[in-house]
């Protein structure tokens, strides 16, 4: 259920995200999911890829400021209220979600990527509650 996410520091200027997307494509990096958080001056591009360690090395050598973060990838039940239930499990166990974003795997299953304040504890309680992670990247 725990997955490594790569975060990239991106200046907030026109065309910069496109340049980074091109760099990823040129290096045959297949994005499973991504999200961008930004302010008026800079942002953080967060991506999920198949082989985070080697992609991190590639991006670092290209001179980007990057870091690896441990996040949760949780399979969502495909019905209304599915996300609310996951969040309730975490809230009941005093685990805070810092941010989250969703993605859909090739088999149409929906997943949510979450960064929480205690990833190991979160994994424990979600597994106990019967949730599954997406580990076959």
């Amino acid at each position: 259920m725990l997955t490594k996410q790569i975060s990239i520091f991106v200046e907030n200027r026109a065309g910069r995200l496109a340049e980074i997307a091109k760099l990823l494509a040129e290096n045959d990096i297949n994005l499973r999911s991504l999200s961008v958080a930004d302010t008026s001056r800079f942002g953080v591009l967060r991506i999920i890829v198949d082989d985070p360690d080697s992609v991190e090395q590639i991006l670092r050598k290209k001179g980007l400021a990057v870091s690896l973060t441990s996040v949760l990838s949780v399979k969502m039940d495909d019905r209304p209220g599915g996300l609310a239930e996951v969040l309730k499990v975490l809230a009941d166990n005093n685990i805070n979600v810092e941010y989250m974003y969703a993605f859909q795997a090739s088999n149409n299953e929906a997943y949510v990527i979450m960064r929480v304040d205690n990833d190991l504890a979160a994994q424990d309680v979600l597994v106990k509650a019967g949730y599954k992670g997406y580990c076959k990247f």
């Binding site: 996410q5 975060s7 520091f9 991106v10 200046e11 958080a37 930004d38 302010t39 001056r41 800079f42 942002g43 953080v44 967060r46 670092r60 050598k61 001179g63 980007l64 400021a65 990057v66 870091s67 973060t69 810092e98 960064r115």
Partner: protein
């Protein structure tokens, strides 16, 4: 603690001042008799060589500036005929003509001794293998370190600059124990080894002699940890001879000046009067043991302060602080004096080992605005926006208190601030003062 020349390096202050006086008197007379620009300057100031009776009388003599060297390009400051000159170096001027420096054979021997003192103080002996990664060219770094290491009896590898992979291969194959390069290249070497998974155990470095650019104590500890060696700061400038004018010892406090060859003074940038010990000002050197080009009160525009007294290492040589800035680099923003080096030291203390930054000064209406762009590096970057905002805010708060004026901080991606070879251009001043 090892000395190359224990007698001179540990002289009493009385002995030193009588040696300096004797050499100074001779130098001033030779300059007056052989260097026409000096004769003209002294005549204009109404000073005769016989008026110089002690080191204190140096204050009667006019300063020499880089402009004097340019005006008398290339050989006008020489005190000997070209038949006695055996070496010519030149320094790259950022503006205008380069400045030329000449040496007799005896000058080269004295210079080599100055550098040998630095190496011996660092811990090197004739058993060491020294790799010199300074440029071998018109720049004094390469040949200066080279002859100094030979003087001490070391085995010298004249590697010069460039080709980092080959530099590392030489360190591994030739068993390099002493590395001579710029502090930023030392960090670059480390990063290259780390990124290419080359183990630090594959090299056998013991000592590093780093100079030719300003660096902080913080950066020294980082380099020592990264490369697993002890680092020594070597200071010099080509106009005076090159590297070896001053050097740090194992106490890492400040720099010992080879004052039996170079008298150092620190003067107020505005009045030109000597500052009391401990008070920063412009550093001036007088070459009292140089034949070819004996500069008198050469104003380096480097900012430092002097300290006297015996050091824990045993040396009695006068000490100067690490250079904390240049009077030419000084910016006046909203009436406050700001040195780029102050900004650099704040960035260093924020955990940035090799800060790359650009100061942009502008005027909006009548008010000066200062923006500092800082390249973020991976070690400072966390995944969170609020972590980045906190980093910006903490740099801003520290700068505000160090400079007494407020600056806007902008984090930018690595590699986006333009580098020029050797020096990074740190300031863009867009103010139109008309």
């Amino acid at each position: 603690m090892a000395f190359f020349n224990k007698h001179e390096e540990t002289m009493s202050s009385d002995e030193m001042s009588s040696l300096q006086t004797e050499r100074l008197k001779k130098t001033v007379r030779r300059a007056y008799e052989n260097v026409m620009p000096y004769r003209a300057k002294m005549d204009a100031a109404g000073v005769k060589p016989e008026d110089i009776k002690s080191v204190d009388d140096l204050a009667k003599l006019p300063f020499t500036t880089k402009q004097d060297l340019r005006d008398n390009y290339p050989y006008g400051m020489n005190a000997v005929p070209m038949s006695d000159v055996v070496r010519i170096h030149a320094s790259s001027g950022t503006s205008g003509k380069q400045t030329v420096v000449t040496y007799t054979q005896r000058d080269l021997d004295v210079w080599a001794e100055c550098v040998a003192r630095v190496l011996a103080c660092a811990g090197a002996t004739k058993d060491d293998i020294v790799q010199v990664c300074y440029g071998y060219s018109m720049f004094t770094g390469g040949l200066g370190a080279h002859y100094g290491a030979e003087k001490l009896g070391c085995s010298v590898i004249p590697a010069s600059t460039g080709n980092t992979a080959r530099q590392i291969l030489m360190m591994q194959d030739f068993g390099t124990t002493v590395l001579c390069c710029t502090p930023s290249y030392a960090i670059y070497l480390y990063e290259h080894m780390r990124d290419n998974n080359i183990s630090m155990n594959s090299v056998n470095l013991k000592y590093g002699i780093f100079g030719a650019e300003p660096w902080s104590d913080n950066m020294r500890t980082q380099i020592e940890n990264f490369l697993n060696l002890t680092a020594t700061d070597i200071y010099g400038l080509s106009e005076i001879c090159g590297p070896g004018v001053a050097f740090s010892c194992q106490t890492h406090k400040d720099l010992h000046v080879n004052e039996d060859h170079f008298i150092v003074e620190v003067v107020d940038p505005v009045t030109g009067l000597r500052q009391p010990d401990g008070v920063p000002g412009e550093v001036c050197f007088t070459c009292i043991n140089k034949e070819a080009m004996p500069l008198i009160r050469y104003n380096t525009r480097d900012i430092s302060a002097l300290h006297r007294g015996k050091c824990d290492c045993g040396r009695t040589l006068i000490r100067m602080d690490r250079i904390t800035g240049r009077s030419d680099d000084m910016l006046i923003i909203r009436g406050v004096n700001v040195f780029p080096s102050q900004i650099e030291s704040v960035l260093l203390s924020s955990g940035n080992v090799d800060p790359r930054y650009l100061i942009i000064v502008d005027r909006q209406g009548t008010l000066d605005q200062m923006e500092i762009k800082v390249e973020i590096n991976s070690s400072q970057f966390t995944d969170q926006i609020r972590g980045l905002q906190a980093l910006e805010n903490s740099i801003k708060a520290e700068l505000d208190s160090a400079l007494n004026i407020s600056a806007k901080i902008t984090l930018v991606e690595p590699g986006t601030i333009e580098r020029s070879v050797g020096k990074t251009k740190h300031v863009i001043d867009n103010r139109r003062l008309d």
